[in-house]
């Protein structure tokens, strides 16, 4: 099993460590005072209300450089990379030949046209690296996954904290990043995240990640900065209805069904599997990824069947949990489009019992970030 450079920090902070996508990662931290579980829910609320640090060094990074870098990324991704100027970030997909999704990614433009950093899921890092190599259109590719550590700083106090260490980053707009220096090493401070809160994901060389982690905790002690495990990372993203590869999207997902049509730009360019994906678009629009709240008792889980009131199967649950913010059971599911309007009544097959649920507007929770977007 692989471990990040922060393993010793996690163990010293009484983390409960688990295997995740081949990595030895903290799922939650136990409170040192009592020795009992601090708990995913308290970590979750800490991020919603204060600021949390996540070790996301397990994420993969692929560097795409050279004269053919742009051309290669245009072919490999669904979003329009020509829109990116230096310091811009873009959510995108790696499509396969069958109109499905190899991975969901963020493309960071270091130098327009000739230097990009692509952040990929840990679980897919090796698959993606092979995919890039076999579909390369002449770019200079490098797997930099081992070179980079990554720390996500998220929550209402995150920007203030990161700005204490990297002066000036508070001015970086959402989905932009800034090259910064830490301990004489080049880092990228990106105004991106996976929690719905404002904050940064900091790409930092592996050799410096422990020092940065400690610095963030010590400089953020008055802001109550604390480490947060992968358990809360999952509940935070579920409350925002952010997709998780392997749950909401996989090799067979039609991006239009997943509500990701906004990152597919077929009019702007050619990309792998474009014709197939477009041909499948009408079928994709017949099912929709929706959020729902349980009306009856029970917690929806990945793989549970979704039924209509007449007990006909109309979909599948992709993710579910008890929302720590709302203190009720929430879920994400693919359902037939007849049942996708907000307010639709559906049943979730929980161990053979048809438990009532209702399709709801998403994100489930409003945060400073979602409110900002509306204005």
């Amino acid at each position: 099993m692989k471990s990040t450079p922060l393993k010793a920090e996690h163990e010293a902070a009484h983390a409960k460590m688990v295997e995740f996508a081949g990595w030895y990662m903290p799922v939650e931290y136990l409170s040192a005072e009592t020795g009992s579980a601090g708990g995913i829910r308290s970590e979750h609320m800490h991020v919603r209300e204060k600021v949390g640090l996540f070790d996301v060094s397990h994420m993969g990074e692929i560097r795409v450089r050279g004269e053919r870098a742009l051309e290669t990324l245009q072919w490999l991704t669904t979003n329009d990379v020509t829109k990116l100027s230096n310091g811009c970030a873009q959510y995108s997909l790696l499509p396969n030949e069958k109109g499905g999704v190899v991975d969901d990614i963020i493309v960071y433009c270091v130098e327009s046209g000739r230097d990009y950093l692509v952040c990929v899921n840990a679980a897919n890092a090796e698959k993606d690296w092979a995919w890039f190599q076999s579909h390369n259109r002449g770019a200079d590719l490098k797997n930099e996954s081992a070179d980079w550590g990554q720390v996500a700083v998220q929550g209402p106090r995150a920007v203030e904290l990161v700005n204490r260490i990297f002066t000036g980053v508070a001015a970086v707009p959402p989905f932009h990043f800034m090259p910064v220096h830490f301990d004489r090493a080049l880092c990228f401070a990106a105004r991106t995240g996976y929690t719905g809160e404002d904050g940064f994901e900091i790409f930092v060389p592996s050799a410096q990640v422990t020092k940065l982690w400690r610095e963030l905790l010590s400089r953020g002690s008055d802001l109550e900065a604390r480490p947060i495990g992968l358990g809360a990372r999952d509940t935070l993203r579920t409350e925002m209805k952010y997709s998780l590869y392997g749950h909401e999207i996989d090799d067979t997902t039609n991006p239009y069904a997943a509500g990701l049509g906004w990152v597919v730009k077929p009019d702007a360019k050619d990309f792998i599997g474009k014709d197939v994906m477009l041909a499948q678009k009408p079928a994709g629009l017949k099912e929709k990824l929706v959020g729902f709240c349980m009306v009856d008792k029970g917690i929806p889980r990945n793989g549970y069947r979704v039924l209509g009131i007449d007990n006909r199967e109309i979909g599948r649950v992709t993710s579910g949990t008890v929302s720590p913010t709302l203190n009720k059971s929430i879920g994400i599911a693919y359902v037939h489009s007849d049942f996708s309007p907000v307010g639709s009544e559906i049943l979730i097959d929980i161990r053979g019992r048809g438990a009532k649920a209702r399709v709801t507007a998403t994100p489930f929770v409003q945060t400073a970030l979602t409110k900002k977007k509306e204005n």
Partner: protein, 130 residues
């Protein structure tokens, strides 16, 4: 690794339930070790009184934020009492798994089945208690 409370007088299953026996009545809960590995329990599903349960078969579930875990009955018999307060406030299981966090009382069909369960020393060994 923490040392978990494993009372001497109880019986234990390999699925981490405890059983406290008083004549033909058996009180069942999950062990300290089980609640610790589950994390915060947020949902409990238990049978109704009068329901039959079978040794080694699931009779309910406990769910934490992340995981669903079957409750496996240590004995066969009839459920005669259900701990309603645990269903309303599942966190009791984390606070006091071995007492207030009890789940059901079962009227046993046969005390002979107890021979299939573990006693405290074996259970301690299984969970790595020192």
């Amino acid at each position: 690794m923490a040392n978990f409370t494993v009372p001497e007088e109880n019986y234990y299953t390999k699925d981490h339930e405890w059983a406290s026996v008083d004549e033909n009545m058996c009180t069942v809960g999950v062990t300290e070790y089980a609640q610790d590995s589950l994390g915060e329990v947020v949902y409990v599903e238990l049978p109704e009184t009068g329901q039959k349960v079978t040794q080694g078969e699931p009779f309910g579930v406990v769910e934490s934020v992340k995981a669903v875990s079957d409750l496996v009955s240590p004995v066969s018999g009839t459920v005669v009492e259900v701990n309603d307060s645990v269903m309303e406030n599942p966190g009791i299981i984390n606070d006091d798994a071995m007492n207030d966090g009890w789940l059901v009382r079962i009227e046993m069909d046969s005390e002979k089945e107890l021979a299939n369960l573990m006693r405290a020393p074996d259970y301690r060994k299984m969970i790595g208690n020192k």
